[in-house]
Structure formats: C-alpha cells, structure tokens
C-alpha cells in the first residue's frame, strides 16, 4: 500500500448524481470539475516536503558523449542530486516493445532532446540553473535524416548497430503488378507520390507526475499514462525493483492521443526520489513536452494503381516509408497497420505493398490516434480521386465500385466478418444537404476570418470525400485483455457498486461508460469508479479505440459474475433454484414469479466482489513475406465529406462542412461519442491544413503552440453526423471502437476538397498556403 498519498491525489469518482445505463447520455463525472478548473491533473499533485526534478536534454540530433561533469551542478545550493546513466539502478534500457531506449543517454545521443542527466532541487528554478552547470562533452556527428536513405542506401550510417530498418512488412496478393497479364487488364494506370508531415498529439496537459519513496524501499508513482501495467513492466527493471514495489496510480490525464504510451518522466522521477529519499515532482513545460513524447510518423509513400475502364481496381503497387526517428517505440506496429491497411477498404486482386519503418536521427515517432492507418489513408484516398479523375468518374462512384462489403477480403486475406455497409454509407453521406454559400457579411465565414484577407475575392468552393478503415484493439496475436473488479455492497441503506479497473481515463469518457454498464447489468443507480491503479490487473492500453470494447467487456463480464453470485445467494436463502432471474431497480425479479427479493437483503450477508478478465478473439501475425493473416480484431469504418472554401489567390482555407457517416455498432453514450467524432475529425483537419512539427537537420523548428498550430473553433465547422448501429456480433453490446476512424477519413476528404477547388495535384499534408500559390502570377 502507498505509504502516504499526495494532496490532490485521485479519489473515487462518485456518480450518484448521475443516472443512465447503456445507450443513455449521462454527463461525465469529471466534467464539471474540468470546466470549473477544479479537476486535479497530474501536474497539480503536491506534497509539503517534495522537491523538483528536471531533465538535461541533448541539443544535438546525433552526437557521441565523451564525458559528463556534474560537479558544478552538485555544488549549487538547493541541489539534492544530479544523476546520469551511471546512476540507473537496474536495466539501463527500456522501450514499448524493443528495449532500445536508454533511461539516460549512454555514450551517445540519437535525437535532439534525448535525456542526458537529471537534477533534483528544492525549486524548479534551482533545478533549471543546475542543468546549465552540467558540462557534457559532445562530439557532434552528421545526423541521419533521410528515411529513404535509411532503407535503401547500404552506405547510410547506422543509428543502431542492428540496422536502420525497424520493420519491413510486405503484402503480396495475386500476381505482380509488373506482370504483363495484369497490366493487360488495365485501361488506366495512375501513380502518385505522397507525403505526410510530423503531427503532434498536442495534448494540453504536459508530461508530469510525482514519485514518492516508500518505507519498503519501493516507490509510489502518481502519473498520467495510457497503460499503467505496461509502464510498470518497463519501469521496475530499470529501477532494479520487483514489480510489487512499484505502485502506480493514474493521476488526472490532460489528453493523450497516443503520446503517453511511451514513458517520459516516470523512471526519472522515481530514480531521483529513491536517491534523495524525498517525493520528487516533475512537470515539463510546453517546449519540453514537444521533446518529451513521440509524434506521428512522417511518411513518404509511392503508389501506382491500375484499373479497368469501369473503374474496378486491378492492381496496387505501394511503397510506404515511415520515419521512426531515434528509437523504435511503436514503429513495428505502426508498420503493421500501414501495410495491412495500405490500400484501405478496397478490394484489389493483385497487390504488392512494402511498408518500412526506420531509425533516423529525426524526432522519435510512435503512437498517435490512427496509428499508421492515417498516413496510408491519405495516400490511398488521394489515389482513388486520381483514378476517378483519370476515368471521368465521380469520386463516390469509384469508391462504391471497389469498397469492401461484409464477406470481402482485405489485403491481408482477412475476411470482413461483421457488417460493412460502406457503399451505403457513401450514399447516405452524399444525400446529406450541402451547406449554403458563404455569408460574406461576416468575415468569420471566410478564409482568413477576421484577419480581413478577403471579402469573397478569389474564394472557390470545393468538395471532397474520404473513407477510413481502422483496426480496433491490438492486432497480430497480441492478447490485450482487460481486467475489472466489481463490488456490490450496502452503503448505509442504499446499494452501491464500485468499479475498479486499471484503465486510463484520458478524456475519452471511459469512466462514464463503465458506470453505465454497471447500472445496466446490476440494476443499481449508485456507481462509483475507483482510481485506476496497479492493485488490480491490467486493462490494456487506452489506445487503438479499444477501451469501450475491452474494459467495457471486462466490466460487463465482472458484473455478470456479481449478478450470478447474487442469484446464487438468493437461491441458497430460498433453498431452491431459479432459472429466470434478473436484476432491476435494486430488486431480484423472477420472470415467472415477480419480485422475489431485494439487493439490500442479499447484501446484508456481506458485499459481493468479482474480478474478471476479458479477452478478445485471437488474431494472427502477418506472414513476414506475404502479409497474409487474420491480423485484426475488429474493423471500423467512417466516411467524410468535406466542403472547403479556398482563397485560391492567397492559399487560405475555410473548411465549411465536414460531414460524417460512421458505423459504431452500438451507441453506448451519444453525447460522449459525438465528442469523440468531433475531436477525431478536428485532429484530421489539423493534419490536413496546419499541424506539423517542422524539422531541419534533425532539429525541431517550432516547439511551441505559437508555431505548432492546432485548429480553433473558427477553423472547425459544425458537423452533420449520421451514426449507424450495425452490431458486430463478437463485441460487447455489438459496439465498435469509434475514436480513431474519423481521424483517418477527414484528412483526405479535406485535401480532396482543396484539390477540387484549386485544380492542383496536392501530394503533401499539411497543405500550406504556399503550396496553393506557388507559380501564381495573378497578383
């Protein structure tokens, strides 16, 4: 047990004020706290005797370290400790899947911002000053910054000794695209080169947390993460501690989007706390945050498609290079997604895909909402439009002629087993009313808005479509199960349920849904959510749009076990068996006999608690040579139509409409769901027109919210949405993960609309004003 808890530590979130089961829209228990600024984020944790940790980071993307002199920093009054890799108590390397990342740099650095040394001091300012006194003798080397060179040039310097390719995943279906027999079937062949810049998760709560040394020699960690138990597996060995001596509690998470799958300050704060014997708090500022987490992989993609005169795809020849930067992080799995979904939700008889993830000295990249599928989606949807233009077909028609339906096969050979009415979804989308022409009497309706760049001059409207398909839950034989503990007990004279999981609420609304499930399954109103911590089994990661499915499934299963235990007790009490019982309104109801008891009576004998694991059906690894295999757990589809006004003379953009049709299987909570669909679409809009970490020679040029721009309310239009509920029979309640698919489809839809307005062949996102005005002479 934790020795002491900090101020503003997470507490049970009592949802007695709200009601509502599965399908209702209760408000979230942390909602009003957040709106009023009272919610405790991990950066708000506090203890009277805590000290502050800070991180010295490499200014160079690639350098050897000959020596680190900490003497001057240690002499600064107020400094408690200065640590380097020599002070790491256990393993010196960690990593999500590949343990290639040093806790603190050992002899070299592989990206700008890599942690080199740590300071603990009485004040953050003292700690910052001490960092400046640490002398690091760097031998700067030429960074590896060209990911294609990292793949194809045998002379390219190695970022890691075992080669620059982290994963190469081919996909081979049918005959080779170069086969003359294949080419002979094609009426048209089109090619495109596409590029996706580095997008950042840009969560608002920077990396932060508190480490408290415990009397048993262990440490209590209060941190904001996406997966407590996977962190624990990486942290404990580096601290040289058994896992039970590292106790983790999820603190308030200020957004994640994949950026908290990798560790940041956790091992560092724990090292300092264990060394000094005092609680240590670390909080990154915004600039440091840009170096404190991985980003979305930038991608270089080359596509060639062949099709018949009717627009039926004949072959796809695809190369995707994803730049993982200095460390592997999630790169292997991002490559798996990009490869398996490389041609998206389309039936293609002959496929050759080669997806590569590489090491370079660029910023490290890993998980971000959409995870490899986003990059491919921009390319394959751009290709569908290119093919449509070549054949004189409508963009919706070309998609409908090729899109998968239930029973069809993906590029991996995996059969789409659940309903997949994508062609019908496009019809629904196309039938949605189009927005009215811009009302130019209000500048806010025009590109540039109140900056007064146009009064309507140069503004051209364009329309574009995009389809996204995203794998839900972890793929490729990963058993990302979830655990839930549900306790039903008498609280005074009412019955309450307590739901305890280790699942990370990162803003997506999981805790609301957990309570809804408990209410529905147990027929009680009062449900509390225990803070997520490592005293219960793993819940898997809050990523891959999987928590409603997996932890929702675990809560449902644990509730069913609690319910069975209730029925067992009443059967014992009554001395007879029933086979027609249900729980409703705190009563035990027999279908034949009516109410036969109350929960109060049953629970008078003591609480009932059950813990259950929930596993999804087993998946397969992709074949290393052909990419074939039933690799995905579930597939989810979204289709977007973007309407964009472009000031073609200035290259400024106003997205007028971003309408969406998505199949979610089951609407668990419409309010929460719509928030996810809005947010996912907005993040895709950001990638389409503004969000990019700009890098030159391995160095980040815009690590701030002044120059890394995310969409505002004047950039994001109101959305019209049609949400479908075609159940997936294998998923709890038939639901499908919903958070990621709209992030995929919104980017290519917007890009297509801008192409429609400008006639330009835009091959790169984000699309910058100069991309639209280059070569114009209409000044």
């Amino acid at each position: 047990m934790p020795t002491r808890a900090p101020d503003r530590a997470p507490r049970d979130l009592n949802q007695s004020a709200t009601t509502g089961g599965v399908g209702d829209s209760p408000t979230r228990p942390d909602g009003s706290l957040k709106v009023k600024g009272e919610f405790a984020y991990s950066s708000d944790l506090f203890m009277d005797d805590m000290i502050w940790g800070a991180t010295l980071r490499s200014p160079h993307p690639r350098a050897l370290i000959h020596s680190i002199d900490v003497a001057a920093a240690l002499k600064l009054p107020g400094v408690y400790a200065v640590l380097t890799h020599e002070d790491v108590p256990g393993h010196k390397f960690y990593g999500l899947d590949t343990r290639d990342q040093p806790v603190l740099a050992v002899g070299q650095v592989r990206h700008q911002g890599e942690p080199v040394a740590l300071v603990a001091a009485d004040h953050p300012e003292t700690a910052r000053r001490a960092l400046k006194l640490i002398q690091v003798d760097y031998e700067v080397q030429e960074p590896v910054v060209d990911p294609r060179r990292a793949v194809f040039d045998p002379q390219c310097p190695l970022v890691h000794d075992d080669g620059n390719i982290v994963r190469h995943q081919p996909v081979r279906v049918g005959a080779s695209p170069d086969d003359p027999a294949v080419r002979a079937q094609c009426a048209v062949v089109v090619s495109g080169e596409y590029e996706v810049g580095i997008q950042d998760q840009a969560f608002l709560g920077p990396e932060s947390g508190l480490a408290i040394p415990a009397e048993d020699g262990g440490v209590d960690l209060y941190v904001a993460t996406q997966w407590i138990h996977w962190d624990l597996l990486q942290i404990a060995p580096c601290l040289g501690l058994p896992e039970e001596k590292v106790r983790m509690t999820l603190s308030g998470v200020g957004g994640a989007f994949g950026g908290r799958e990798d560790l940041s300050m956790e091992i560092h704060a724990a090292m300092l706390a264990l060394r000094v014997g005092k609680p240590v708090k670390m909080v990154y500022n915004r600039e440091e945050s840009f170096f404190g987490h991985v980003h979305r992989h930038p991608a270089l993609m080359t596509y060639t498609y062949g099709a018949t005169a009717e627009g039926k795809l004949v072959f796809a020849d695809v190369e995707i290079v994803l730049d993982g930067g200095g460390y592997a992080s999630a790169t292997p799995n991002v490559v798996g997604n990009a490869a398996s979904l490389g041609v998206g939700p389309y039936v293609v008889p002959n496929i050759k895909i080669d997806a590569y993830g590489v090491y370079t000295n660029n910023p490290p990249c890993g998980a971000m909402r959409g995870f490899g599928a986003v990059q491919a989606c921009f390319a394959y949807e751009s290709m569908m439009d290119k093919l449509a233009a070549e054949l004189g077909l409508d963009p919706v028609t070309i998609r409908q002629r090729n899109v998968v339906a239930q029973g069809d096969k993906l590029a991996t050979g995996q059969v789409v087993e659940a309903p997949a009415p994508v062609a019908e979804m496009l019809d629904t989308l196309k039938a949605l009313p189009m927005p009215a022409p811009a009302d130019t009497s209000d500048l806010r309706n025009l590109p540039g808005s109140t900056a007064n760049a146009t009064h309507g001059e140069g503004v051209v409207r364009g329309v574009g479509y995009g389809i996204g398909v995203k794998n839900i839950c972890f793929s490729e034989d990963f058993d990302d199960y979830s655990t839930a503990r549900v306790r039903l007990e008498l609280l005074g004279d009412t019955v309450g349920a307590l739901v305890h999981t280790a699942a990370a609420e990162v803003g997506q609304g999981l805790i609301t849904i957990e309570a809804q499930i408990a209410r529905t399954e147990l027929g009680v109103e009062q449900v509390s959510i225990h803070p997520a911590d490592s005293s219960v089994g793993t819940a898997g990661s809050s990523s891959a749009s999987r928590q409603s499915y997996m932890t929702g499934g675990a809560v449902k299963t644990a509730c069913e076990a609690v319910r069975a235990a209730v029925f067992e007790r009443i059967a014992q009490d009554h001395g007879r068996a029933y086979d027609d019982l249900s729980l409703a309104g705190g009563k035990i109801v027999s279908h034949a006999e009516g109410v036969i008891g109350t929960l109060e009576e049953v629970l008078a004998a003591g609480p009932i608690e059950q813990t259950r694991e929930y596993h999804h059906h087993r998946t397969q690894r992709m074949d290393p040579f052909t990419g074939q295999g039933n690799s995905h757990t579930q597939l989810a589809f979204a289709v977007h139509r973007a309407v964009v006004d472009v000031d073609v003379e200035l290259g400024l953009i106003k997205v007028v409409a971003l309408d969406l049709v998505q199949d979610v299987g089951k609407i668990m909570n419409r309010l929460s769901l719509e928030g996810q669909l809005h947010g996912g679409s907005a993040q895709g809009l950001g990638l389409a027109v503004m969000e990019e970490i700009q890098v030159r020679d391995g160095k980040v040029r815009n690590p701030s919210f002044t120059d890394y721009l995310i969409p505002t309310i004047l950039d994001m239009p109101p959305m019209r949405m049609e949400i479908l509920e075609n159940a997936d029979p294998r998923a709890p309640y038939g639901l499908r993960g919903a958070g990621e698919p709209p992030t995929l489809s919104s980017t290519p839809a917007i890009a297509a609309a801008i192409r429609d307005a400008t006639g330009l062949d835009l091959r790169r996102v984000p699309i910058r004003p100069e991309d639209l005005t280059e070569g114009r002479t209409d000044a």
């Binding site: 540039g448 109140t450 900056a451 760049a453 200035l650 290259g651 505002t712 950039d715 004003p769 100069e770």
Partner: protein, 296 residues
C-alpha cells in the same frame, strides 16, 4: 528578480532610470512568454499597471488622439473603431479575446517584433510615439523612425512609452493579415493602407516581411498619383494590381517556420491590391452618401 510597482508616472520614470536592467511590463502578453520560456532573465520587472493614465485615451484640442500605451486592444476595437478604423482592424487580429483584454499598443512597440500586428497601421498613418525619461523629459518619435531592427527600437534605456498620437482617420483605412489559422495566429505578413482624401495622399505599411515594419514609398506615391480623386470613378484594376506589385517590391521577407519569402511577397501583392480596392470603394460610397445628403 525584483518586482517594482510604481504608483505614479514620475515614480515609474525614476525607477526606469535607476534600473536599466528592468523590463517594463503592462499586459504581459509578450513579456510573460519570454520569462516562462526562460529566454529572458531581467534583473527586475517594472509593473506599469498601477498608472491609470496609461490605460486612458484622450483627444487633444487639435483632434489628435492620445492613446495611452496600455489601453487594451479590446477597448481600441470598441471605442476607437470610427476614429482609428485601421488600428481597430489590426487590434481585432491580435491573439485571443483574453490577450486582447490584456495587451496594448505599448507592448507591441516595446517588443518591436517584426510581426507585431499594429505596426503597419502606425507607420501607414504617421503615428507618433511619445516616450519620456526622468532626465530629458518627453520625446516624440515618428513611427517610421521608431523601429531599428528585429526587436530593437529607438528608445533609450531610461525611457518609457507614454502614449501613441494618432490623427483621426482622414479617409478609408484597411488592414489585412495572413495567418495559417483562422484565429489566434502570428502574422505571416500583414499590410495596412490609409487614404488621406483631402490631401490626396496614400499611406501604407508592411508588417512581418522585413526586419522592421516599413512603408512602401513608391507604392504610396504611385497610388496617390494614379487614384481618380477628381472623378471618383471606379478603380481601374490595373492600378490596384500595380500598387500591389510595388508593395511586394518594397518588402524584404525571409523564409521561416511561418512561411516562405516568395509566399510573403505574393501575399503582400494580393493584400495591397485588395485593400486599396476596398478603401477606394468605401471612399466612393461615402462620397456618394455625402452627395446624396447634399441633394436632399
């Protein structure tokens, strides 16, 4: 770091003279960012928020508006949009509502960033910056002479910005700015134009496309000469286009994270063309209104 809080303007000037290492702070929308990111470690902050005169604007007997250095942008937009339309339009593009409630023109001038949103209007309208020191008293610096380089201005170490003197608009004014987002964005480049109808002059200012804001003199002279002042006829598009070209030619932009030099030049030419067209159209309609009033 000391925190100095003078209660009067005289005390502020004394503190400024005694502490050359002090950084004046009013709204703090620029200074606090520099401090938070540790880009600046001044020996002291000189807080000007207790001096009410800095947050007031008054009208001199000759009509000149004396705008206190700390009058927030939100009030310029609300209270001065008729007298100073160009400045109000530029103020509307500054940051977020919160920033516009805090920041004022004095901060733009003190920071002297090439991207400051109000600079093009100040140079285009011949604004005068009034600075003062305890030792030498008041000094009036024309806006065109105020900016010396990137984040450098003409102030001495012991001077504070007191007010900006601006003439009420003598004709239509326009301000236009390019940002890669539709709100809360630093200028990629910006442009202001002001017509002086009686004097038949055109003032213009370029922002964020040179080390300092600058006036495109050739463009101004061309437009003053080419505009059909007598006939009040529709503007020949070729005149607007030529004006835009001359504006672009006067800029000296660079490539940076916010945009390329080539794009900035191109955008300035478009903004020059459009804003002159809008200003002229407004001039035409105000003239015709006056005429129709006279007729009735």
């Amino acid at each position: 770091m000391d925190f100095l809080r003078p209660a009067t303007w005289a005390e502020a000037l004394t503190a400024r003279a005694e502490r050359p290492d002090a950084v004046p702070i009013a709204g703090g929308t620029d200074v606090m960012v520099e401090l938070n990111f540790d880009r600046r470690r001044p020996g002291a902050l000189l807080d000007l928020n207790r001096i009410p005169a800095l947050r007031q604007w008054t009208r001199d007997p000759d009509g000149t508006i004396r705008l206190g250095a700390s009058v927030p942008y939100a009030r310029i937009i609300d209270e001065l949009r008729t007298d100073l339309p160009g400045l109000a339009m530029a103020s509307r593009t500054v940051g977020s509502p919160q920033i516009r409630n805090r920041g004022g023109v004095g901060g733009n001038l003190g920071a002297a960033s090439p991207a400051g949103d109000t600079h093009p209007v100040l140079v285009a309208t011949d604004a005068v910056i009034e600075v003062e020191s305890a030792e030498r008293g008041v000094r009036a610096i024309p806006a065109t002479e105020f900016y010396l380089g990137v984040k450098r201005n003409a102030m001495a170490a012991d001077e504070l910005i007191k007010a900006v003197l601006l003439a009420p608009a003598k004709g239509p004014q326009q301000f236009s700015k390019i940002g890669t987002r539709n709100a809360m964005v630093i200028a990629v480049c910006s442009f202001a134009v002001a017509l002086d109808v009686a004097a038949r002059k055109v003032g213009a200012g370029i922002g964020s496309a040179a080390p300092t804001p600058r006036r495109p003199f050739e463009a101004e002279l061309f437009a003053a000469d080419a505009l059909p002042w007598d006939s009040r006829a529709d503007l020949d598009p070729r005149i607007a286009t030529r004006f835009g070209e001359l504006v672009a030619a006067a800029a000296a932009p660079i490539d940076d994270v916010r945009g390329t030099a080539a794009y900035r030049r191109h955008a300035l030419s478009v903004m020059g063309r459009r804003t002159l067209t809008w200003a002229w159209r407004e001039h035409q309609s105000s003239q015709s209104c006056q005429s129709s009033k006279e007729l009735t």
